[in-house]
């Protein structure tokens, strides 16, 4: 008997102006399996799946759905073919209710008007059938992350999807929530659905997938049954060489002193308490990892420390001196280095040249500027030095930052901060969206800085990263630190429980 394929993508090539995102990709998924599409950031996984979902048109190649050749011009066509996609960034409309979000595009009507009651019923039905708990009348902006994700899955099922694409679904979840999600996925599989899981995590792949395909630099390099492969093999395939996942934690011997202190910080937004008497101590020669589910106040901790938001109560001390009311530029000058969590939002001016970006925040320093006049020669020399030192791959430092890859962009941000001898480094999501090579590089740099006696606060959504690098870990939940201890005293499950407030 011929194996039945839900999805067959043949010789798919997708180009964006000069770069090739997918190069003659052949990718097929059997009916009723959970298939992991594995690869590093930037390998072309999302592009391939967006092509399947009709958001991109391939330059070359054909797509077959359930054996029939199809031209998928837009998501509407994909939906009609029974394909649904849960995007990494949720595609939800915050001010609308859960039910309204689910039915969008296929709204039940009563005469000329929209029928909200019917929408609610439908959502309740699906949610009960697959154990996807969501309150249909709650506004999306009030839902926790896990519920938002369940809502996205319900959206797909409401559209009668048989093929479900999930893009990095676990990135925003705690270990416990991940288990719940996997339960749902298994249930869906039992119900005959085909599931494609985009991920860069080996562990997940080994846990849930039936088959796995590895994508590297836009081409398929490996496809196998899960039972016939190993994490080591998959890792090698992903990166193209053997990798070691160990970073040596060398505890710093000399005395640790508190450098930056946040004392009983309070901050509210729209009358909701975001930071609730939160205190933190960041010491020299130490990496303090701040673990937590996104949206529990991490962003506000970063912005309070860097002076981007004012505190309602509490204070901030740098080496014992009160800096609570200092402007961002004065804090930078005082030695607080900031690697922003969102590189493209806070970290870089994409239209600026590499050179201009490398001095941002330090542009008023006497090295770069005298009496308001920029020292353009000094700046150019400095930029070339940093470019070499931090291995930024570019033609010259006059190139616009927008032209660089994520990893090289991040090297600009990191090079900028580390080259200015900060006393404290606030590193938020330092490796988000960069390739494995750059991750290793950035991790090593942070370790070097620690060994040189800097105080480092690491905020990361990747628990692995927190556990790998931190000497001490603090867990943030609903604007408070709920636990703080030596890193060795935590394991993944304990952290997970703390992060969700269930301990």
């Amino acid at each position: 008997m011929k194996v039945l394929y839900s999805v067959e993508m043949k010789n798919i090539t997708k180009r964006f102006s000069d770069t090739v995102a997918n190069d003659s990709v052949n990718f097929s998924v059997k009916k009723g399996e959970i298939h992991s599409l594995l690869g590093e950031n930037g390998a072309g996984k999302t592009t391939l799946m967006k092509t399947l979902y009709g958001m991109y048109q391939p330059n070359e190649g054909e797509i077959f759905i359930n054996g029939h050749k199809e031209k998928i011009e837009n998501p509407a066509k994909a939906i009609s073919l029974g394909i649904a996609m849960v995007h990494q960034h949720f595609m939800l409309v915050e001010p609308l209710t859960a039910a309204e979000n689910v039915v969008l595009g296929y709204e039940p009507k009563k005469g000329m008007f929209f029928n909200l009651d019917k929408a609610r019923e439908e959502v309740t039905q699906i949610s009960e059938k697959y154990g996807l708990k969501v309150d249909p009348l709650e506004k999306v902006e009030d839902l926790p992350v896990g519920a938002k994700q369940r809502l996205e899955i319900i959206k797909g099922l409401y559209r009668k999807a048989d093929i479900l694409i999930l893009d990095e679904p676990t990135a925003v979840l705690t270990p416990l929530e991940v288990e719940d999600l996997f339960k749902v996925l298994r249930k869906l599989k039992e119900a005959g659905k085909t599931i494609i899981l985009i991920t860069h995590k080996l562990k997940e792949t080994m846990e849930i997938a039936d088959r796995v395909t590895v994508l590297r630099s836009g081409t398929i390099v490996y496809t196998a049954e899960k039972t016939e492969t190993s994490p080591e093999k998959l890792a090698e395939m992903m990166v193209g060489r053997k990798v070691s996942f160990e970073v040596k934690k060398n505890p710093v011997e000399h005395e640790k002193k508190t450098v930056l202190e946040l004392k009983k910080a309070c901050y509210s937004k729209n009358k909701v308490k975001i930071l609730n008497e939160l205190s933190l101590n960041i010491k020299s020669g130490e990496i303090l990892g701040l673990a937590g589910v996104e949206g529990n106040g991490q962003t506000e901790v970063i912005e309070a420390l860097t002076g981007l938001i004012p505190l309602e109560k509490g204070e901030i001390l740098l080496q014992g001196e009160r800096i609570t009311d200092l402007s961002p530029i004065k804090r930078i000058k005082a030695g607080i280095g900031h690697i922003p969590e969102d590189r493209n939002k806070r970290g870089l001016v994409e239209d600026f040249s590499i050179k201009e970006n490398l001095i941002l925040g330090y542009h008023r320093k006497s090295d770069f500027c005298r009496k308001g006049i920029l020292k353009n020669n000094n700046i150019a020399k400095f930029a070339s030095k940093i470019r070499t030192q931090f291995n930024i791959k570019t033609v010259d430092v006059d190139t616009e930052a927008a032209a660089l890859s994520g990893g090289n962009q991040q090297k600009i941000v990191i090079g900028r901060v580390l080259s200015q001898e900060p006393k404290v480094i606030i590193a938020a999501q330092p490796t988000r969206g960069v390739d494995i090579g750059a991750i290793e590089y950035i991790h090593n740099k942070l370790m070097e800085m620690k060994e040189a006696g800097k105080a480092i606060l690491l905020i990361s959504a990747e628990l692995d990263e927190i556990m790998k690098l931190s000497d001490r870990i603090a867990v943030i939940y609903e604007g408070q630190i709920v636990a703080e201890d030596e890193a060795d005293n935590f394991d993944e499950y304990k952290l997970g429980a703390l992060m969700t407030g269930s301990k």
Binding site: P75, A76, I79, H87, V93, L104, G105, Y106, K155
Partner: protein
């Protein structure tokens, strides 16, 4: 004495309404546009086009109602330019709007000269006149306000109510609101974002042009160079003040109308005419300044939406 006061108030309200009509039409248009994420500075030019086309249509056909049809078409055409530029070609919304305004000013002025041989104004044409509805004209007080009023007023009421129903009670309205908040989400759900954006921008042009037509064939029955005089921008302010809601936009327009008509009364007190003239603009600034700062518009307003971008 009492009746005097009543008559005074009635006439004040009547003139407030008259002044509010063109602004309210454009404000409704602005609401539709901003709700799908397109900023429309070009309302001014679309109103001007409507004012001109109304007179022109009335001039060549002899019927003010056909003039109104001309206005609708003109408004739709100018809106189409803005829609193509901002949606199809991703032109900056503000610059595109300014271009539309300038194009409208240039075209209407040139055509004024071509058709009537005058740089300042057209000749007088047939207007829409005014109507008195049977019951209303017998209700005391109300009869002094709307007993005898331009048909544009009833058209406006209809437009406000329908706009509200469409936006908040229909599937189309739901989709409109979704696009203004998160066009990517709408796109991934198979909703044709571009289509709805086009519809709304063109709707805004039509509504603005009807407002503009009121200024010409609904009021003085001639077209004058640049006769819209900033009302398009005032309408934008009214929309913001009204929280991007048709009823609110109508309310905001009434407020401007009231302030303006009060100002006209004040001219009796020997205030130099220039101060009276600048009042609506001062009020606009004040209203914007006191509008709730947290009254945020649609999240995706003014941003370009490109398929597939996340």
């Amino acid at each position: 004495m009492e009746t005097d006061m009543g008559a005074l108030i009635a006439s004040l309200l009547a003139s407030s309404l008259r002044i509010a009509i063109p602004i309210a039409f454009a404000a409704l248009g602005s609401a539709f546009c901003e709700l799908v994420g397109i900023v429309n500075i070009g309302l001014e030019g679309m109103m001007l086009a409507g004012a001109f086309a109304g007179v022109w249509g009335s001039y060549i056909t002899g019927s003010a109602y056909l003039g109104l049809l001309f206005a609708v078409i003109a408004g739709a055409l100018f809106a189409l330019i803005h829609a193509v530029l901002t949606i199809r070609y991703k032109t900056d919304h503000i610059i595109s709007g300014l271009g539309v305004n300038m194009l409208s000013l240039g075209l209407t002025t040139v055509l004024l000269q071509v058709i009537w041989g005058n740089r300042g104004k057209s000749c007088e044409v047939a207007g829409m006149g005014s109507i008195s509805l049977p019951i209303i004209k017998d209700i005391p007080f109300l009869q002094d306000i709307i007993g005898n009023i331009s048909p544009f007023f009833y058209l406006l009421l209809l437009a406000v109510v329908i706009s509200w129903l469409v936006l908040y009670k229909t599937v189309f309205g739901l989709r409109v609101r979704v696009i203004g908040e998160n066009p990517q989400a709408a796109d991934t759900l198979g909703i044709d974002v571009y289509k709805i954006q086009f519809i709304c921008v063109i709707l805004s042009g039509i509504l603005s042009a009807v407002g503009g037509a009121y200024l010409s064939i609904g009021d003085i029955n001639i077209f004058g160079r640049d006769m819209v005089a900033g009302r398009g921008f005032i309408a934008m302010a009214a929309t913001i003040f009204g929280g991007w809601n048709p009823l609110g936009a109508f309310g905001g327009s009434l407020l401007f109308g009231f302030a303006q008509s009060l100002q006209i009364r004040l001219q009796v007190f020997n205030i130099p005419v220039q101060f009276a003239q600048m009042l609506p603009y001062v009020i606009t600034i004040l209203v914007l300044a006191i509008s709730n700062k947290n009254n945020k518009g649609p999240a995706a307003s003014g941003k370009h939406f490109k398929r597939g971008e996340v």
